[in-house]
């Protein structure tokens, strides 16, 4: 395809989208964007997310998105976590016979130049600090467990690419260690989902699965503040466990992808007996 052909295709598509956007913003579809007012559902969420005057209907956490993700719609997020878990388990199952251990130490220096390595040593600390901040403040400011976990997963990725597989295994970031962290995170999420129900049932009361704050007819709940600082009840626990589960999950994928293709194909093709 010639250069001019590319330019014509790109320009015509951009012009088409620009015209469509112009028509939309001028009310060509019968309504104008952005909408002039907040919708009723959004208004109700904004009204009840943190409302001390309406504690029985409130999530008592000032961050609306995290409240919706882990309190109002907690079950959806549980299934989302389950989907991510199954995707990772699937890739681990495909690569089950392949040794992720680094083997013997390679001769000479590996990875990129000393300048890049020094910069990475500094930025990895910063990345992990930002990730912890995003996850631990998830119930107060934008962010949460998945956001923090995805940010934290960038750190092992950088070490893997810029140093080497052998270096990251020596740091203790192996596939089995990450699987253990990931399983602990998922067990933590499951326990947190049932914690109010379990404690209340032992005391002879009633509660919901995934209950966070006291609700009508279910007066038990997690404390939304400890010593004057907001904790969001179960939201803080969910965010911490989700961060560990997500970051360990991504790290497993990177460790598996970093295995050289020759080793992978050798195992996947099987031996002479064809299994």
């Amino acid at each position: 395809m010639g250069r001019w052909q590319k330019v014509v295709i790109t320009a015509s598509m951009v012009a088409f989208v620009a015209l469509l956007a112009l028509a939309l913003s001028a009310g060509g579809l019968g309504f104008t964007l952005p909408a002039g007012r907040v919708r009723d559902v959004a208004r109700w969420y904004l009204f009840t997310t943190f409302n001390p005057d309406l504690e029985l209907f409130s999530a008592m956490a000032p961050e609306g998105v995290t409240s919706i993700v882990w309190d109002y719609r907690g079950l959806d997020t549980l299934f989302e976590t389950a989907v991510f878990f199954l995707a990772i388990i699937g890739s681990v199952a495909i690569m089950r016979d392949i040794k992720t251990g680094g083997g013997s130490k390679p001769k000479g220096s590996t990875g990129l130049s000393p300048i890049v390595k020094t910069v990475t040593r500094i930025t990895v600390g910063i990345i992990l600090a930002v990730a912890a901040s995003i996850a631990l403040h998830g119930h107060l400011t934008p962010g949460g467990g998945f956001q923090g976990g995805a940010t934290a997963a960038v750190a092992p990725l950088l070490i893997l690419v810029i140093f080497s597989r052998y270096y990251i295994e020596r740091l203790g970031v192996s596939k089995n260690a990450m699987l253990a962290i990931r399983s602990l995170g998922l067990v933590g999420i499951a326990v947190t989902a049932f914690i109010v129900l379990a404690v209340t049932s032992l005391q002879g009361g009633v509660a919901y699965v995934f209950q966070n704050q006291p609700k009508p007819y279910a007066p038990a709940g997690m404390p939304y503040e400890v010593g004057g600082s907001l904790t969001g009840g179960t939201l803080l626990l969910f965010n911490i466990f989700e961060m560990f589960a997500v970051s360990a999950g991504f790290t497993i994928i990177f460790l598996l992808l970093a295995i050289p293709e020759s080793e992978v194909l050798g195992v996947l093709r099987g031996g002479e007996d064809g299994h």
Binding site: M1, V14, A21, V65, Q147, A150, A153, V154, L157, L257
Partner: protein, 87 residues
């Protein structure tokens, strides 16, 4: 002097068109490594758009996933296959 809202909408429009050009280039490009870089440029524009649309939660998850993790995974995969797309 345009109002603040008009300014934000104008920046959104420019970012949208930039992302669109990057997406088309990513599709047309035969060198897959360059295609991943175009795709990352498109994701960068989207991350700014999410922020301007007042969705900082989405922006926070979009920056590490779409600019860091996803290009890295695809680059790993390109390393395992061929770099140049055949006919």
């Amino acid at each position: 002097m345009p109002s603040y809202e008009t300014f934000v909408m104008g920046v959104l429009a420019i970012l949208g068109l930039v992302s669109m050009v990057a997406a088309i280039l990513a599709i047309l490009e035969r060198d897959l490594v360059k295609a991943v870089i175009f795709s990352a440029i498109q994701s960068t524009a989207y991350a700014f758009m999410y922020y301007l649309l007042m969705a900082p939660d989405i922006a926070l998850v979009y920056i590490p996933v779409a600019i860091g993790l996803y290009p890295a995974v695809v680059l790993f995969l390109i390393k395992k296959t061929e770099r140049y797309e055949g006919d």
